[in-house]
Every structure is written in structure tokens, then in C-alpha cells.
Subunit: 179 residues, 4 copies
């Protein structure tokens, strides 16, 4: 394809084919109601990338977190995971699934599967960062984990989703700066 | 599958580390209540592998479908997907997720993500068969798809799960015979 | 994050963080030398999406194929897969891998694994289309398959890569038009 | 692992459909030639699981590492990854791929993609452990990383493969003991 033909791709969808601003507002509100601000996620991303990229700010990290939650693939994973956490709490969910989610059963891996779908949005280089934060539980992830263990709230999906968004934002930053 | 046929699967598989016979009974019953017998899935597997393996029977296909639904990873995906279908029907699920599932929204891909987790259990050679049956909708998949479109029932996850189990069983057979 | 802050993301990298035009030229040339034009891939994408989207042209399909091969994740998979095909032909590769690739061994799934990494770039909705074309072998895929079977050329990776790019472009189109 | 220890793995696993004892010997030898013993990998697995499972020994970890390298999916990933490392060293590989592998380029993710295929063999619960060891580089992984950076040897794939096998063995143990 000739260079000039590439240029013909209409500007209005150059950015937005896979993005959805309306659902973005829904998922951001949903995460807030569950105790997570995008700035909490940006802090984790900063923790992952700050030492590698001189001059990186938490504000820039937040911009990349914003991009991640604009993606439809990510939004669908968030909508589904948070719904499962909430339905487990409410009692609308049947057993044995409900019990698995309420205790964050170690051999249940669907939360990791959804998280990988989020991470994949910026490619395979994010797998490592996801695994690392899922294990070391920095910042809000630790807090969610403790609330999940000590209260009636269920954060089986939410903590993995937060880690996955943070890792995807770190990949987005890496593609921008290290490219 | 009749009880006495199940018993033919060698004991050592039943006791395998990643298998779970108790949850197997739960998920088999769950699928039956949603309109799917393991023999329906075995018929799809036979359709995929019959032409390549001389002398393959639907009974052997059924034995491999049985093995697939013994795996914990598969069981967790079934428990989660069918619960989501049912909660979408019942009205316990919130919007916009509920609407996406009830209409089987084309840009919602979490059903495919869960399906891949099932297929992966017997390795990457199953991706192709999963995609093929998901698109051509043989047997019970077609029936589930039509019921999903024309009634209040939601089969957004179930049809992908059925295709994924059929594809995983086909991989299991391929490893056994072509190895 | 406030709406006005989102707008602050610099224009120059709004499109290009994960894209790489220089390597694009390398991989396009590499595929051409192996017998594949981007227009061959666009024809497969058109076959997948033409019936669903009124007025879709092969030219538009080609534009979306162009976008797919701009992504670093895709380029890395192409560079790696085609190199493996070529090294198998040349004899520089050791056994037993070389034999597996030359005969396109049915239980070797690394080609599908690389293909999935390509498809993932536009999300999980592309899995189905990848599986379908990998099985039905439309257009250039059939031709590559036959050359692979009847000559000294090895196309074990190339045919999966072509199918994966076509499926990813179909997803890109779906996100644009069905959104 | 000594021959007589290998023999302790029950026969029924050795004959499993997805296992391959002959190729196992090939990949074990290949990893040894590249500087990795299965016991090095077992030590990482022990580091991951020792604190959670009272009485777990490195010998048991080694048995689970043995099981992982019996799987065809894993063997194919090892054969392919180590071949790529070796061909990058030898100069038989063309640019720009060769340069990417020799410098372990940060935006090249095919090594992670192959690693995930290995981890998947025991399900999604292993993603976290893989990411963690890939980032913290315990034991042999650190050593491989340093050799890769300071000599002509290329370990771009090997270090991820080692981490993935260790994580898969940890999953195998978790399924066995925590089930």
C-alpha cells in the first residue's frame, strides 16, 4: 500500500475504533464505588516504570491508565469481573461458584484469565508486570485484598483487574518511551 | 453418559491432580439443565475428528469429552459462564452488561476468553477447531444459538463453552492417536 | 481524570505508541518474498466481513490490514515466524524441530500460539475468525498450504500468520462499524 | 535428575496422551547444554511453594518439573525457544530479529508468548508466579540473565522458559496439595 493511501484513513476513527468513552464513564464509576480511583492504579504503574524512565510523572501514568480503560476489551472485562464480585456478595449467585469467589479460592483462575485479556491489549510484554503486582500487592491491591479477607466484600476479580490495568498502562508507557 | 460408561475411564485419570470428580457432576448437571448433554458435545467432536481417524467412534469422543470436563480449569470456566448466562436472564445482573449478554453483543469477547481457557487445557492445537465450530455452529451449537435469539434464554457463554469443550476433546484425541 | 486533561495527551503519539512504520516495511517485504501481498490478506478479510457490512470494499479491508501490520506485537510475531520457516528450509535449524516444521506436524502448536498473539491485538472477538480461516483455508492460505506440502518451501508459520492478520483486520473493522 | 529417580514417576503418566518421553530426553539435554539443570528449575519452584505447603521438598518439586517437561506443548515451546536463542548466537538468523534477540529488546514479547503457552498447561493460576519470577529473577534465572548481558550467549528465550516451567510446576503442586 502506498504511503498516500495510508493517509486516507479518516482522522475521526484513527483513535477511536476500539475505544468507547461512554462505557469508560460507567466502568470508572463502578470501580470508584468498589473503592478504586484511577489515580490508585496510576500509582502502581508509576511504581513499575518510575525507575526505568527518567522524568516520568504520576500524571503521565494516569493518562496511560485513562487510555487503557477506554478500550472496549478492557471495559468488557471490568464490567464482567466487577459484576461477578457484586453478585457473589449479594447472594444472587449459586453455589459452588459463590463460595469460590467469596473465599478467593486458590485454584479458581478465571480472574487471572480476565486479567490477561486486559493485559493483552498492549501486548505480551505486560504479562510479567501483571504477575509481579498480583504477587507483591502494592498500594490499593493490598488494601483490596485485606478488605476481601476481613469483611463481607468480595474482591476476587477487582484486585486482578486493578493489577492488569496497571500492567497494561506500564506497557503503553514502555511502547511510548522505549520504542 | 451412563454411569457405567463413566466408570470405564481408568481410575488414574479420575485421581489426577488437576481433575475433580465432584465438581464434574455439578457442571454436567448444570449443562443438562441448560439443554446440553455431553453426547451432544461428543457429536461435534466426532464431526471434527471422524474423517481423520479411521475407526473413531462417538463413544470414544464421549470418553474424551468426559476427560475435558474433569479438569478444574474447565469446570471453573463452565461454572462462571453458565452463571453469567443465568444471571442475565434472571434480571439480577446490572446494565450495561445484562443488555450485552442478552443480545450476544458482537464486540463482547469475554465468552471467547473463557472458551480459550478451556481449549488451552489440551494446548494450542485446539484454537483452530474452536474457531471453526464457533463459526459453523454444528448440531447443538446451532440450536442454542437459535434459542438464544428467539426466546428469553441467554446462551452467550454456553454456545462458546460447548464449542470449546468439543475442540479440547478433539485435541485430546489428536494427542492420543496422532502422537 | 477530567475531560480536559484527557485532551492533553500529545497528538504525535496518539496513534503511534505501539506502531512502527520502519519495521512495517521490513515485514511487508519479507511476506512478499515468501509469496504474500497485503492485498491477498485483505481479500480474506473481505471474505469474512463483506456479507455483514454493506458497502465494505476490499480497499477498506486493505487499510485495516495495513493498521494490523503497523503494530509492534504483530511485527515481532511475523519476524519470528517467517525466520523459523526460512531456517527450517535452509538446514540451519537442528532436529527434531526442523522435521516438525518441514512436515507441519499436527501436534506442534507454536504457530497457533504466535497467531493468537497477533489476533489478540484487536481483542478476543477475533479468535473465531482465525480458527475459521485456518480450517477452511481461503485464497492465499490454500495456496501456501499446497506449496508447503508439495515443494521444499516451509510455510508452517506463514499460513497461520496470514490467517491471524486477516482475522485481526476483521476485528478492527468490526470495532469500527459495529461499535 | 538421575535416571532412577525419573523412573519413580508412575507409568500411567509416562504413557499419557499429551506426554512424550523421547522428546523429553532431547529437551532436557538441550537445556543442560545451555546451562540449566531441572534441579535449578525445581529450586525456583520450591522458592515459590515451600512457604505455603508444609513438608514440601525440593525432590517433590523436581518430580513436578519432570511432569511439566513431559508435556508436548511444553517441549515444543522449549525446542523452538532454545533454537531461536542458538540461531541468534550463530549468525544464521537475519536482521532485525537477530539484533532484537541478542540485546533482549524490551518491546519484543514473543519470549513471553511462548512462556505463557508453557504456563497454560496447568491453567491460569500460574500466570502470577511466572510474572513474579520473571521480574525477581531468582537463582538460575539471574545467572542466565547476567550471562546473556555480559557474553556472546543469548538467553532471551531460555530465561522465560525456565521461569515458565518453574511456575507450571508450582501450579501442578498447587492442584495436587490444595485441591
Amino acid at each position: 500500500m502506498a504511503e498516500n493511501e495510508t493517509a486516507k484513513i479518516p482522522k475521526e476513527y484513527a483513535d477511536d475504533r476500539v475505544n468507547d468513552t461512554k462505557t469508560r464513564d460507567v466502568v470508572v464509576k463502578m470501580m470508584k464505588e468498589r473503592g478504586v480511583e484511577l489515580s490508585d492504579i496510576a500509582a502502581i504503574t508509576y511504581g513499575l516504570q518510575g525507575k526505568y524512565i527518567p522524568g516520568l510523572s504520576e500524571k503521565t501514568c494516569l493518562e496511560h491508565v485513562e487510555r487503557v480503560v477506554m478500550k472496549r476489551e478492557v471495559q468488557n472485562a471490568i464490567l464482567t469481573g466487577l459484576e461477578l464480585d457484586k453478585l457473589a456478595e449479594s447472594g444472587a449467585m449459586s453455589e459452588p461458584l459463590r463460595g469460590m469467589l467469596l473465599e478467593d479460592y486458590g485454584l479458581y483462575g478465571v480472574d487471572e484469565v480476565l486479567a490477561l485479556a486486559i493485559v493483552n491489549v498492549y501486548g505480551s510484554i505486560g504479562f510479567t508486570n501483571f504477575g509481579y503486582v498480583d504477587k507483591t500487592k502494592p498500594g490499593i491491591i493490598k488494601k483490596l485484598d485485606e478488605i476481601g479477607k476481613n469483611t463481607d466484600q468480595c474482591h476476587t476479580f477487582l484486585d486482578d483487574i486493578v493489577g492488569a490495568i496497571a500492567a497494561a498502562a506500564a506497557s503503553s508507557i514502555a511502547h511510548r518511551y522505549a520504542g
